[in-house]
Symmetry: C2
Subunit: 315 residues, 2 copies
Amino acid sequence: MEGEEEIGSPHLAPFVRANREKLRADVVVVSDGAMFAPQTPTLTYGLRGLCYLEVRLRGARRDLHSGAFGGVAPNPIQALGWLLARLKDEKTGRVLIPGFYEKVRPLPQEEKALWPSLDEEALKRELGVEVLPGEEGYSPLERLWARPTLDPNGVWGGYQGEGSKTVIPAEAGMKLSMRLAPDQDPEEVADLAEAYLKAVCPPGYTLEVLRLHGGRPVLTDPFSPPMRLMARALEEVWGRPPVYAREGGTIPVVAELQETLGAPIVLLGLGLPDDNLHAPNEKLDLVNLEKGVAAIRRFHGLLAEELSPGPAGSP
Amino acid sequence: MEGEEEIGSPHLAPFVRANREKLRADVVVVSDGAMFAPQTPTLTYGLRGLCYLEVRLRGARRDLHSGAFGGVAPNPIQALGWLLARLKDEKTGRVLIPGFYEKVRPLPQEEKALWPSLDEEALKRELGVEVLPGEEGYSPLERLWARPTLDPNGVWGGYQGEGSKTVIPAEAGMKLSMRLAPDQDPEEVADLAEAYLKAVCPPGYTLEVLRLHGGRPVLTDPFSPPMRLMARALEEVWGRPPVYAREGGTIPVVAELQETLGAPIVLLGLGLPDDNLHAPNEKLDLVNLEKGVAAIRRFHGLLAEELSPGPAGSP
């Protein structure tokens, strides 16, 4: 049991590395993640990585009054705006950090053929939007599963209360995260982003970049022997074969377990797209919990048969 | 006595209009504002106006997880960045709202000659900056006194706490103010800004503009009869003649008093540039308080002599 996932599991990877021998396994099953849709058993064979930064900008030594100093004072909120516009192109939705896309592995046509189809209209209704903005030239599902993205996740500076205050703040900041596609590396991407931010930061501002969190992307064989066993277990429990999916989220420990233990990974997501991950009203469907338990039990039975040297059931 | 200046004096103008006859006066003295420098008695003959807006942007119906939706979700923080970059040019410092500069009265060369000179190096040291960013083609003092500016005064959205949270927020917002030069009108400028923001708002976002506060710019005759009397009073009290200055701040009630009462205005600022207006550690120099009281007493004496039909002192 490990309870640090929401803060990036900082102790799990060192623990796994320190206990590599004790943790030797035939297969690693991770049931974080989501089903593609309700009633749709899903095997996930790919995850995006994550590079999460905090950007702090400082202008003058202290907060200034916009009447007394407006016209000569640096404004870190304005500068954050210029930086955001330089990070992502408004027209194409492309990330503008030089080299950002260089290592992204292209998506083979045959892999796309494996994917279920996304109901874009249902997604729009769910989100309450009329368009699904994103990188030009790629379908929504490609953008969610196989393309990297950049999103500011928080911004602050100056006066945020009711009414008006004519302050030019000394400081402003933002949280900035990038979801990474195979084979991008979070540290390399952080280096690229930091160098670029420093290069395009307007004169008169002090820029600080903090690296808060990272995780490598994962791509596994959807048809490895244990994945085939889990597919059988899911079909028996749900009465229908699973779909094969990638996922847009990040589970940093999966890359870590794959590399440290060298065992094949089975990613069995039991959540649903509307579970409101990380939001105040996060939930888990009880049907998925029950069928998930049943599938994992059945998988262990099938695995025992497969690994057993004699006929099933022999001592 | 009126105590609403920090929130824009919403009740003062209606009061003045309702009591126009009772308030009839030979001259209106307003001692809000600042001296140009310590030990420098100052008569102010111009003020900038103000147009203060709040801009709210909404994307999806609810906050979203950047792993599950990054690549298809609108991001109002990113969109605020694009809007900020479209409001002010990073290279030239010019406001990009069409028509924004149209009504700005050009500054006559002879008026500039009247101004004291600004110690730019001292200002940089005071602010702790190496450059004084602002509109290309104008001196810092022109940018502070006679040119309009635009500054975001606050910004918010998403996660602002410690550490990382991979949220794509449903909403983000900012406070946005413009200091106005004679003869810009706050309502007209608000119309221009709102129309422009709506025109350049990227698709997929709902934009709302609230008008929080406004004030008209003021320009008076630096050598009107009461200004000449106040200049004499200041010279007697300080032992040196005053300098003539405009000010970058806004005192909405001045335009209101000027228009409603039709009396000449005398603007006698007694604050100092480092008084930290509106900041938590705002102060007032006691020397300026004492000499200010003395100058205003002397001004009343001189005014009584001037207005008296007979020789001074006669009943």
